[in-house]
């Protein structure tokens, strides 16, 4: 019982990291821009958040720093891709490579550092319920924030005017432009917000999930988040569920090790990555399904004025 409650708790925890990043990428891709730099942004945000946490002792400032770092990198990416029309995939890759190198460089002094005593959060009363209590009500506020964000994003995309405009820009920027909407500015806004969310995800990783800094600690979660957006067919609720699913797979590794399963640890560590491949294969099989749900202008450069 205890073990299962723990597993659930950790699944939500791990899933939150992916959720923020994937939701950010969802906003990005809904506007038609693919930002492959998620991994780089998360790494830089992780070190920015960790360093801020070490120096100021404030978690919230750390989150702000992470969001800021992500937004800044995304803005640079956005200007290159939206105004200079550089290849979105190559530029995103460049961002990832840069972010990997820069975070390793900036993080050198922080590998032995520790954050202040980590607070324990719990909702009084509800936290004492059996099973559900520890699983659902002893979480960091950001876990609830991720759920709230999903709901808000779903409402925004499907029930608000601005969400409609965003989706329009993603489906047909030419039409949106013809209607007078500032396509490039909307895309930049989407990219920057997406970057900020990736930044929050990175900061959450280094400040809450594993409160330390190690070079490369994001370990591919940025890429998994990108894959997640695709197999959740760009819908917020599905993204959140997918994020928890993958969080669960990651936790399974530790759970199985604790239970003394006789498999070499490396094979268990491979699980999240193999799972990503498997799900990708399953979803992609039906190319029409993907095409129908994908924002039509993803990856394509937009030239106002023809």
């Amino acid at each position: 019982m205890e073990a299962i409650a723990h597993l659930l708790h950790d699944t939500l925890n791990a899933g939150t990291v992916l959720a923020f990043a994937a939701l950010g990428m969802l906003i990005n891709e809904r506007s038609g821009v693919v930002n492959l730099g998620a991994e780089g942004m998360m790494l830089v945000a992780a070190i920015a958040g960790f360093a801020t946490g070490v120096h100021t002792g404030s978690d919230w400032l750390a989150f702000a720093a992470g969001a800021g770092a992500g937004a800044l990198l995304a803005a640079i990416f956005g200007v290159l891709v939206i105004w200079l029309n550089t290849n979105q995939y190559a530029t995103g890759l460049a961002l990832s490579l840069f972010g990997t190198g820069f975070s390793a460089f900036a993080g050198i002094k922080y590998t032995q550092e520790k954050l202040s005593e980590r607070p324990h959060f719990e909702i009084p009363g509800l936290a004492d319920l059996p099973l559900v209590g520890p699983a659902l009500f002893k979480q960091h506020p950001m876990v609830y924030a991720a759920i709230a964000l999903t709901v808000a994003l779903a409402w925004f995309l499907y029930r608000s005017r601005s969400g409609l405009v965003l989706r329009a820009v993603g489906e047909s920027p030419e039409s949106a432009h013809a209607l007078g909407y500032p396509v490039r500015r909307i895309r930049l806004l989407a990219v920057v917000i997406g970057g900020a969310l990736c930044g929050i995800s990175g900061a959450y990783l280094s400040v809450v999930y594993t409160p330390l800094w190690v070079e490369g600690m994001v370990a591919g979660k940025g890429w998994i988040a990108l894959a997640l957006t695709t197999f959740a067919t760009w819908r917020p609720a599905r993204v959140l569920l997918g994020a928890y699913l993958f969080g669960g797979v990651t936790m399974l590794e530790l759970f199985l090790q604790n239970q003394g399963v006789e498999v070499a640890s490396q094979f268990l560590s491979m699980l999240p990555y193999l799972a990503t491949i498997v799900v990708l294969v399953l979803i992609s099989r039906n190319a029409t399904f993907i095409r129908v749900n994908m924002p039509a202008s993803i990856g394509k450069p937009f030239f106002p004025g023809g």
Partner: protein
């Protein structure tokens, strides 16, 4: 204000100048970075740009570093030209090293010197196998090759880890995660006594020639390029996109695997957890900076090697972290992509558009026909 204007034709001059422009901007940014870190910028630049080419020994080290970058980038150039985004070259490099090690471990003191060929071939097979998985999943299930190849990089890392910590660990190695040091018969012969550079450099240069011929003098190469530049035209011409996919991935996997094999049969001499040195990712930058052209790639591989060696020197001489190399490499790619805009666009100084009042009522349009002698 500055405006970007589409050029009627892509500029050939900028095509070749943009990598240089990108390098110049990177150097400037690097100077600022050195100054911010409290180090003498000129000294920093000297260490990164001059020292790696200053002496024969330095050149020899440069060649050793450039070989794997060159080989992998050649394969990636074919891939990117065909619009196949193989980002997982690092994983293919690791598998190449693993397969090469597996064969190298079979050598006994009585094995002949020809054995190194088997080691290298094993590397090629390993890389091709890993890339083949990506090709299969893309071909049969339409799975995005960027994500699959990347996930496989992490998987490859774990496979390597498992092997060197487990079944392949040298029993006499004091419990360090490493295989035995491979015998001399598995090693590529060195070119000059006293220097570490080996025949791998020759292999790389031959590869440059072969790839140039493939891309620019064969029908197959032509098909690959058209497939990337104008997929609809390629389909119309009957070029098989499926064959292009497999060719591109197997070829780049083979090259990455060969690079891994050469490292095992050369500078490394054994399998350790430190085999993944990021060459697979750096090679992406090498390929782009080299304009996806075999000759350009030679130069950009040399440039990237200078960054690697410069980073190592900066660590020992200036006390800067080695990861500085990664920062420069990323910066270079960024600036290159930005500079590439100038190939297709001109920068023009345009005055801000002001609202133009309608010159005259609409009637003149209707009135004009009388002039045409209706």
């Amino acid at each position: 204000m500055l405006k970007l204007e589409v050029r009627p034709q892509p500029s050939k001059l900028m095509s070749m100048a943009s990598p240089l422009l990108a390098l110049a901007v990177t150097v400037v940014l690097g100077t600022i970075l050195f100054a911010l870190l409290g180090k003498d910028p000129l000294r920093g630049l000297y260490i990164f740009l001059i020292e790696p080419v200053k002496s024969l020994y330095a050149l020899n080290e440069l060649a050793i570093k450039a070989t794997p970058l060159l080989l992998i980038a050649l394969g990636l150039a074919v891939c990117f030209r065909s619009n196949v985004w193989n980002i997982g070259a690092e994983g293919q490099y690791i598998l190449g090293a693993i397969f090469a090690s597996g064969v190298a471990m079979q050598a006994t003191p009585s094995t002949g010197g020809w054995f190194v060929i088997a080691v290298l071939l094993a590397g090629v097979v390993g890389g091709m196998l890993w890339a083949g998985i990506v090709a299969l999943l893309r071909d049969r299930f339409n799975a995005n090759e960027i994500l699959v190849s990347l996930m496989l990089v992490y998987v490859a890392g774990f496979v390597l880890n498992y092997l060197v910590y487990g079944p392949w660990k040298d029993p006499a190695g004091y419990n360090f995660p490493q295989t035995i040091t491979f015998l001399k018969s598995t090693q590529v012969p060195k070119l000059f006594t006293g220097f570490r550079v080996n025949a791998g450099v020759i292999v790389a240069l031959v590869a440059v020639l072969l790839f140039w011929v493939l891309l620019f003098r064969t029908y197959a190469g032509f098909q690959l390029q058209v497939g990337g530049l104008a997929p609809a035209a390629a389909r119309y011409a009957g070029f098989s996109s499926r064959r292009a996919l497999w060719t591109a991935l197997l070829l780049s996997g083979a090259m990455a695997g060969l690079a891994g094999g050469l490292e095992i049969a050369g500078p490394l001499g054994q399998l350790t957890p430190y085999v993944p040195a990021g060459y697979g990712f750096a090679a992406i930058i090498v390929a782009f900076v080299g304009r996806l052209h075999p000759v350009g790639i030679v130069f950009s591989a040399i440039l990237m090697s200078m960054f690697y060696i410069g980073g190592e020197l900066a660590q020992s001489r200036l006390g800067l972290p080695k990861s500085l190399t990664g920062v420069f490499q990323g910066l270079l790619l960024f600036t290159l992509l930005a500079a590439d805009t100038l190939i297709h666009y001109r920068v023009r100084w345009k005055s801000a558009p002001h609202a133009v009042a309608p010159a005259a009522p609409a009637t003149p349009v209707l009135g004009a026909p009388s002039q045409k002698g209706a």
